[in-house]
């Protein structure tokens, strides 16, 4: 059975290491915060200007001046700090953030990522995603393996406008885990979701990959 969103984000959370500074993209990646393994302490950065993001506030304690990058109300922790947007992206661009988890529309075998627009159809903007992939040490993408139409989102070459070139380290889909390694070597399938066969994943993947299952 393919992984659910919760399973995918739990798998992403296993990439977290104690002491990491982490930025979680808006949407599905936000769920990674629910699966931080016991014994692992990470500091969440929110690119709108906060380090040490806490959980959602208790009902009635929400503060309009305290939101995350997805504009959701959040809370602060004892160790939290606030700063302006230029400082926030100095942190990101300057390589001070260890890991970022992002969503995607397409990931290519060469590590390219597209996640900000569909020409003529959907335009939301790149937000901070281009800065994150340009500056964060390790980039993990969590996405559905296929579009609703069935078309593979792990592609030979991105057809959508890029967010970054050769920037994806690891890809987690509902079908399995792929080591992309920023396109420096061949894509390796390293894990299958339970019950998903190699034939099934081959049939649903446009990009070439080698199999390196443990």
């Amino acid at each position: 059975m393919p992984w659910t969103r919760d399973d995918m984000t739990a798998r992403a959370a296993r990439e977290l290491k104690d002491g990491f500074y982490v930025n979680l993209g808006i949407g599905i990646p936000t769920l990674v915060a629910n699966h931080i393994p016991p014994g692992v302490e990470v500091t969440l950065q929110s690119e709108n200007g906060m380090l040490g993001m806490g959980p959602y506030p208790f009902e009635g304690e929400e503060d309009p001046d305290l939101v995350n990058a997805g504009k959701m109300t959040i809370s602060e922790l004892d160790a939290s700090s606030y700063f302006n947007s230029a400082e926030s992206f100095a942190m990101i661009r300057g390589g001070h953030i260890d890991l970022s988890v992002l969503g995607a529309m397409q990931v290519a075998a060469n590590g390219d990522l597209a996640n900000w627009m569909v020409p003529g159809k959907m335009v939301k903007g790149m937000g901070g995603a281009m800065d994150l992939v340009a500056g964060v040490k390790r980039v993990i993408v969590v996405m559905e393996h296929s579009e609703k139409s069935g078309r593979s989102k792990l592609v030979r070459e991105c057809t959508l406008p890029l967010t970054g070139k050769g920037v994806v380290d690891l890809l987690i889909t509902d079908l399995g885990v792929f080591d992309i390694d920023r396109g420096r070597s061949a894509v390796r399938l390293v894990e299958l979701a339970p019950g998903v066969t190699l034939d099934h994943i081959r049939a649903h993947t446009e990009a070439d990959f080698v199999t390196d299952l443990a």
Partner: protein
């Protein structure tokens, strides 16, 4: 020295607005936006604006009000996904948009206020953002040249301010406001509390008064929440 304190938002903008001008507006989503100054710009009817702001409000609030009123010709933003009217106008070609990565946007504004005409960044290399821009190699890596941004007017929102124009922001409502305060030819700040000069902790001031030309206390703040997310109180005992 003439007073910087203004009685209301319309007075604070008197003589500063003209058609075709560039305005920077602080805020991230609806958090930390200068709501009263935006309303006053709507009332003024000034048009053909180029607006520099990370987002464009939502339908019916914040900068969304200026969009509805047909006052904006061009936006320089990083993310506009919360605004249906925006998406429609853009796709129909009725609104010009310069999409700028959020960190590049922040730095372009910071540079504009700091007298730096351009800078090099890795962000956007190999994407449409790089089209038509100069690239250069430093230490074997390719970087993109981005130009600074300045505006005829910047409007910002702070938590507390004083007659000298010193500002303190609150939590994540700070966001783009401090850089924008530095990059407007004129900066008008609205605050929730206009306090006695000398009462702000001088070590804690985020925007020193030199950047702020006019200041007013907003009569009211809706501070609308875009996405209310909470956890139930029952968790409190176990947390």
């Amino acid at each position: 020295m003439a007073t910087k304190i203004q009685s209301d938002a319309a007075t604070a903008l008197a003589g500063l607005l003209f058609d075709g001008m560039t305005v920077m507006a602080g805020g991230f989503g609806l958090c930390g936006i200068p709501e009263n100054l935006i309303l006053a710009i709507r009332e003024s009817g000034v048009k053909d604006l180029t607006v520099v702001s990370n987002n464009c409000g939502v339908d019916g609030f914040g900068l969304g009000l200026l969009l509805e009123n047909g006052q904006i010709r061009k936006m320089i933003s990083s993310y506009v996904g919360e605004n249906e009217l925006f998406e429609r106008l853009y796709i129909e070609g009725k609104l010009e948009v310069e999409f700028t990565p959020q960190g590049t946007l922040a730095e372009r504004i910071r540079a504009g206020g700091a007298g730096i005409p351009a800078f090099f960044t890795r962000t956007g290399v190999g994407t449409v953002v790089a089209e038509g821009k100069e690239t250069r190699e430093f230490d074997g890596e390719t970087f993109l040249m981005e130009r600074a941004l300045k505006a005829d007017l910047s409007i910002v929102k702070a938590w507390k301010g004083d007659a000298a124009g010193n500002l303190i922001y609150r939590k994540t409502a700070r966001n783009f406001n401090p850089m924008m305060a530095t990059a407007g030819r004129v900066c008008v700040a609205e605050v929730e509390a206009l306090v006695e000069t000398g009462s702000l902790d001088k070590d804690m001031i985020h925007t020193p008064g030199v950047y702020v030309h006019r200041i007013l206390k907003g009569p009211a703040y809706e501070k609308r929440i875009e996405r209310l997310t909470t956890r139930p109180r029952s968790e409190k005992a176990s947390a």
